[in-house]
Structures are given as C-alpha cells and as structure tokens.
C-alpha cells in the first residue's frame, strides 16, 4: 500500500486572471488525487470540524482511503497565496496552521505495514516520527522546504539519511548542498543519504539523480496555466503511485514514474485546486502521454 502524510487544507488562490476562495487543497490532497489514478492510496492528515463531509466523500469517490485522516475540534489548515505575472513566482499572503499546529500523525495499524510512503513537506521531526511507525517500508520518499532547511537543518539531514529518495525544488537542492550549479546541487543532495534525488523545476521540467545516473525530462508544455498550486504534490503522488504500481525502482522504472508524474501534474495546473484531477480519467492521461512522448522523442 502507498500512504502519504501531509496537509489537507483550504486554499485561497489569486492569479493574474482569477481568484478562488477556500478550495480543497493541501499536499496530501493533491498527492492523493494524483496517486489514485495509479492505484490505492491512503492519506494521513488532520482536518477541523469545519471540514465538510462532502470533501471526505470526494476522496473516497476516487478510491482514496481516509482512515488516516483525523478530525479534531478547531479550524482546518488555511493557506492563501498570490501568483505573479509569469505564474512561476508566488507569494504567501496568509497562513493559518490551525489544527495542523498540533498534528502528531498516528498511523492506523493497517498503514504501519505500508510498503510505500511519501512524507510531504512538514517538520522533519514529525516526518521522522512517521518513519518510526512504519514496520517494513520498501520505499520512503520525503519532501521538505526552505523553512525547515534554515531552521531545522540537522533534523532535515537526519531525515535524509533515513529515506530512499528525496523530492526537492531547485532552491531547496541549492540550500541543502550549498552548490549553486543545479546538477552539482542535486549530486550534493544525493551524497547526504538518499539513493535518488528528484529535482522539480516547475515549468522547466525535472531531473533525477541516482548514483552516477542522471535523467532529464522537460515539463509538459501547458498553454493555459490557471493555478500551479499543488503541482509538485501531484507530481509526487503520480511518481509514488507509479512506483507502487510497478513494484520496482530500477532506473527505467524511476524514469517512467517521472514521466507519469509530469503528465499527471500537467493536468492539475489547468484548473484551481484539484478540480481537474477530480474527474481526470486514464484515457485522457494516456492520450496526453502519447503526445508528450512525441514532443521529447528525437
């Protein structure tokens, strides 16, 4: 089984073109909707008593297990952000941790046997406490962010020594490795422990470093980007979903997982929140995958 520990949130998003208020978001949410296209996935997270049952039903309607989602008194995590002109730059305008502030993830017993686990961005100490609960994981991949690298560097480094893979953006790779050149940075992160490193470059694609091996993939060229929020978590969800489905982590499988992640994340940015993923069918994914293959094949 594949599980993801992360946030379930209400996002308020402003782009140069439009605005959306309190849409269903969060790292676990985006991860779950993407991963569910490839197989079973369970979420570990927390919501407040303001979280509608309809949202939980929407998860289940896509085959996403919510046994690990706790509901506690209080308000659900809220994030608000604004995208600037080119959609590659955003600023956070509001952040309310609410019930997430005291979140101490407890895996349901069935989840403790999960073979595949994604630790979405969060306090590295909490991420490690999740690891402690796993009985015999086959593959653990973690995300992190600039905030934790700055304020809890030692704990992030301790985490990196315990995971199989890490998924970071270019800034995080540079901060973790202290190298400005992105390839050197990715190789530097790999030397901190994980067997492979995925660098997400947004509209510029992604890079996989595994030992001496390097794999480069452009992003699928989306012409109308409506909302980039959660694209990285969708990317992670499809990547992990693919690996769990394949049951292998050979170089070839990792590359294909990156391809699937790229294609599925490209849908997410076409609408606000998870609106596009909620109804996305595998036929559409395969069709876009075929188009993408042609765009990158020599």
């Amino acid at each position: 089984m594949l599980i993801c520990v992360g946030t379930i949130a209400f996002d308020t998003i402003e782009t140069p073109e439009a605005c959306a208020e309190d849409v269903l978001g969060g790292s676990a949410t985006h991860f779950g909707f993407a991963a569910s296209l490839l197989g079973p996935v369970g979420l570990v997270g927390v919501v407040g008593d303001d979280f509608p049952d309809a949202h939980l039903a929407a998860f289940r309607a896509r085959g996403i297990d919510t046994a690990g989602v706790q509901r506690v008194p209080g308000r659900t995590f809220r994030w608000a952000g604004r995208y600037l002109d080119d959609m590659n730059v955003r600023e956070t305008t509001d952040l309310q941790l609410n019930v997430f502030a005291d979140f101490d993830p407890q895996l349901p017993d069935a989840y403790r046997d999960a073979g595949y686990c994604f630790l979405a961005n969060g306090a590295p100490a909490i991420q490690q406490r999740v690891l402690d609960q796993l009985r015999s994981p086959r593959l653990v991949v973690a995300d992190t962010m600039n905030h934790w690298i700055e304020t809890a560097r030692d704990e992030v480094l301790a985490l990196l020594r315990r995971v199989d893979g890490v998924m970071v953006n270019d800034e995080e790779a540079r901060m973790l490795s202290g190298r400005g050149n992105l390839v050197a940075a990715a190789r530097g992160v790999a030397r901190l422990g994980p067997r492979f490193v995925v660098v997400k470059k947004g509209a510029h694609g992604s890079m996989l470093v595994a030992g001496d091996d390097l794999f480069l993939l452009p992003a699928f060229p989306v012409e109308e980007v409506r909302d980039p929020t959660g694209a990285g978590d969708c990317f992670a969800g499809a990547f992990m979903g693919f690996l769990a489905w394949a049951g292998r982590t050979t170089r070839r499988t990792l590359c294909r997982a990156l391809f699937a992640a790229t294609v599925i994340a490209s849908f997410n940015v076409e609408a606000f929140g998870v609106e596009r993923l909620r109804t996305l069918g595998s036929a559409e994914v395969f069709k876009r995958g075929k188009r993408f293959i042609k765009m990158i094949a020599m």
Copy 2:
C-alpha cells in the same frame, strides 16, 4: 555553403570565480567555431586595425572562411559583462560598438550563393540588407534581441516575414508575441511568419515550434559552468551547421540539429571565450552526445 553575419569582438568577462580580459568573442566568432565542427562556414563581419592576424589565422585553422571579414581603421567592437551568482543572470558593464557602428555588410560574391544563412543579432534593417544580397537561399534563420524589439519592432516584424526560422530566448519570445506563457509565446512568434521558432532557455534547454509540432529538449547538464558568453551563438552555429550538412529541414532533422546544438554549446560554457571550442574534436562531441542520449531516453 553556410554563412553567418554577426559581430567579431573582444569580450571582457567577469564571473563569480574568475575574470578574462579582451578574449576573442562576438556572435559570428562563436557561431563559426561551433559550425566548423560540422562543415564549411563563412563569416561576415568587421574588425578594427587592433585585431591580431593570429585571431584570423585561428579561424582559418578550423576551416572557417574569413573572406567576408572586413578590416577597417579603428577599434574592434568591445563588450564587457558580469555574471551574477547563478550564472543565469548577467549585466552588461561596457559596450563599445567602435568599427561595428558603421558596419554595412557586403557579401563577397561567392557568399551571395550561400544556401544557408544565419543573421546573428543586429539592427533588423541591416539584417534585411543582407537578405537582399542573397541570390537563392535555401534556409535563412535570424536572431534578434530585446533592444530591437523595443526600438525597431516594425522592422523586426518585417524581417520575420522574410526568414524561414527564428532563434530567440524566452524573454524575446514573450516580447514578440505579447504572451506570458512560453509555449503560447513560441506559437505566437511562429504566427509572425517563420516556419519554425527555436526558443533558447539557457540552462533550462530549448524548444522547437514548427506548425503544430513541438519538440522539447533539456540542456546538457554542465557541472562547472565557467563562462556562458556566446553559448546561444554556438547553439545557433551547430544548429545551422547540422542543417547545412544534412541538407534537409524535416521535423526529424530539426530535432537532431537541436540535439547537436545542445551538445556543442555545452562545451562552450566550460571555458572563457571560444577557448574550449578551438580544440574541440568530434570524438569528444560524439562521446558527450552518447551520454546525453542516455540522460534523456526513457
């Protein structure tokens, strides 16, 4: 025959690591050294009486024809620039047009029969005067820059209607098309006339748009970038050199030309000026090409 009309210059380059003064540079120079790896190439440019014969001999030593290089009284074009931390951002610190200010390119008679012509960045009116001198070109590709798009937009647009292809960076594509999204921008530029558009994204790779077709290629991941100056012109030189060698511009050939351009330009950034290209051999190029294929193959 392939010809390139552009600058031959002395560059003074400052990077976070090092500094180089008055190194041989300019668009035609970088173009020529790259193109010469693939076949014969002739340069059209102007130098002052301070330009050493040894540099002209260095061109010829690589099989670059210099019949179109005029020497006139005065000083050679000089450019000075500084690269900031991440090497993707640079600022021009000095620009002296010198003899280039009055440059009105006259093609030697043999060059007027050239089948392949690259118009490096320059005043669009001058670029068009070069076109007027060509008797029956098979393929003309032009470069331009933000300065001309801002100050001589109509002339740039007139030029685009007369060329087969255009090679621009992401900023230029956005300025020409008025579209922020890069794919939409590239398609917008294609609608201005040229049969194909190549968008150079530096360390992020390149994109080819030809009709409804789109081809994406990452950059070769260079770990030690010493000097990015001229990488775009090398890219153009190898691209045009490949097309002239192949004698075709099918989709497949254009993609392969982009691949060759990516590999050859990756060498250029490993040393100042054209130092690396001056001694680059085809065995090294093939070897890196094979490595690159593995990095982008699924």
